[in-house]
């Protein structure tokens, strides 16, 4: 006697079996028993205990997510800052004169230093990976602070008051200081990794 194949049994389970298979299964106790076994196996598979990860992978995911977040923000802030700096230059340069020339020189110096540090940082951002959570947290914190300053600088692009000029220089200098710290953190990490 010809019995149902496994294909037939699975088709019966799915309600897609041929007319022959359906009729045969109704009459054949062996095939009905086989079909029951399929149901039981599937039920047992579903009832297998959940396997839990042996180690906590969240710190690795978190660190990588921080790096990704910072990288995205830096890409944005680099472009935004470049545009803002150009605009600030156009708006403020004609206003500097007399006592303002000292501020102008300081502003130019801070912007040059900032650009140099930015270039140096690109060299350390080789693989985007961070060795330890502590380093990642420090880098993220510094990037956050730089991003805040960048946002402030970008927001000042339309400000014309002379009183803001000194503050602008101060912000750029703060940015330079933070970038130095960031460069330091990244270079220590890079030396440690041996890149």
């Amino acid at each position: 006697m010809m019995h149902c194949t496994m294909d037939d049994l699975l088709a019966l389970r799915a309600g897609e079996a041929s007319v022959w298979a359906r009729r045969h299964a109704e009459d054949c106790a062996t095939c009905r028993a086989e079909l029951d076994s399929v149901y039981q196996r599937v039920a047992q598979l579903k009832a297998l205990p959940a396997l839990r990860p042996p180690r906590d992978r969240w710190p690795l995911v978190r660190d990588a997510a921080r790096v990704e977040r910072v990288r995205r923000r830096r890409t944005w802030s680099t472009w935004g800052l470049a545009a803002a700096a150009a605009l600030v230059g156009v708006l403020l340069v004609p206003r500097f004169g007399g006592d303002g020339s000292k501020l102008h020189a300081e502003l130019s110096r801070a912007k040059d230093q900032s650009a140099t540090l930015e270039n140096q940082l690109q060299n350390y951002d080789v693989d985007g990976r961070v060795l330890t959570g502590r380093t990642a947290a420090r880098v993220a914190e510094l990037e956050d602070r730089i991003a805040v300053i960048d946002g402030d600088l970008a927001g000042r692009s339309g400000v014309k008051a002379q009183a803001q000029d000194a503050e602008l220089v101060k912000l750029w200098q703060q940015r330079v200081d933070l970038m130095r710290e960031l460069l330091n953190a990244r270079s220590i990490r890079t030396r440690y990794v041996g890149l």
Binding site: C4, L9, S37, L45, A47, R57, V61
Partner: protein, 178 residues
């Protein structure tokens, strides 16, 4: 295993805004189902851990693209299944899967879960993945075919072969023919 499907919308919204605590809450909610899925599909526990990590890196990167259609678990599960299948494909490129399998090892008896679990582990990577996705996770053959880049009939035949092998390994009745 049963997965709690309901995740508060506010938690998803916070995660989409980049809130680290919300992202961790999502990780904690789904780490076990994701790992379990990967571990059942893959032979190696370390590979499953890697899939867990890769899945959540993808979740963190793409959570903004999740539009709330369907359950979040369905979205995450698809990412995890894709990652696990990629790993299987990569392994298959490195080494051809053995054609023969260990049939009916001593000590495998009908009924007990531990035996079924051991028999399941003896299946080829592809068969195991198809069985788990279809029978446990509830994917259709169309979905499995799409995930694997194969046809619907490939998925169906893998499932039938896998069940025939499980049946043989578990020493069940002789009525059916594979």
């Amino acid at each position: 295993m049963t997965v709690a499907l309901a995740v508060p919308d506010v938690l998803v919204a916070r995660a989409q805004a980049g809130d680290e605590a919300a992202l961790e809450a999502l990780f904690r909610a789904f780490e076990t189902p994701v790992y379990n899925l990967a571990r059942r599909m893959l032979r190696n526990a370390e590979d499953a851990e890697d899939v867990l990590q890769e899945t959540f890196l993808e979740v963190v990167k793409s959570i903004r693209d999740y539009r709330g259609e369907g359950y979040l678990w369905g979205w995450i599960r698809r990412i995890a299944a894709t990652k696990a299948l990629m790993r299987i494909r990569r392994e298959q490129l490195r080494a051809t899967e053995p054609l023969g399998e260990e049939l009916g090892k001593p000590g495998m008896h009908v009924g007990a879960n531990i035996d079924l679990e051991r028999a399941f582990e003896q299946l080829t990577d592809t068969s195991r993945a198809v069985v788990w996705l279809h029978d446990v996770e509830g994917y259709t053959h169309e979905e499995i075919g799409e995930l694997m880049g194969k046809s619907v009939s490939f998925s169906k035949s893998q499932l039938a072969r896998a069940h025939a092998r499980l049946r043989g390994m578990l020493g069940e009745g002789e009525g059916a023919r594979a």
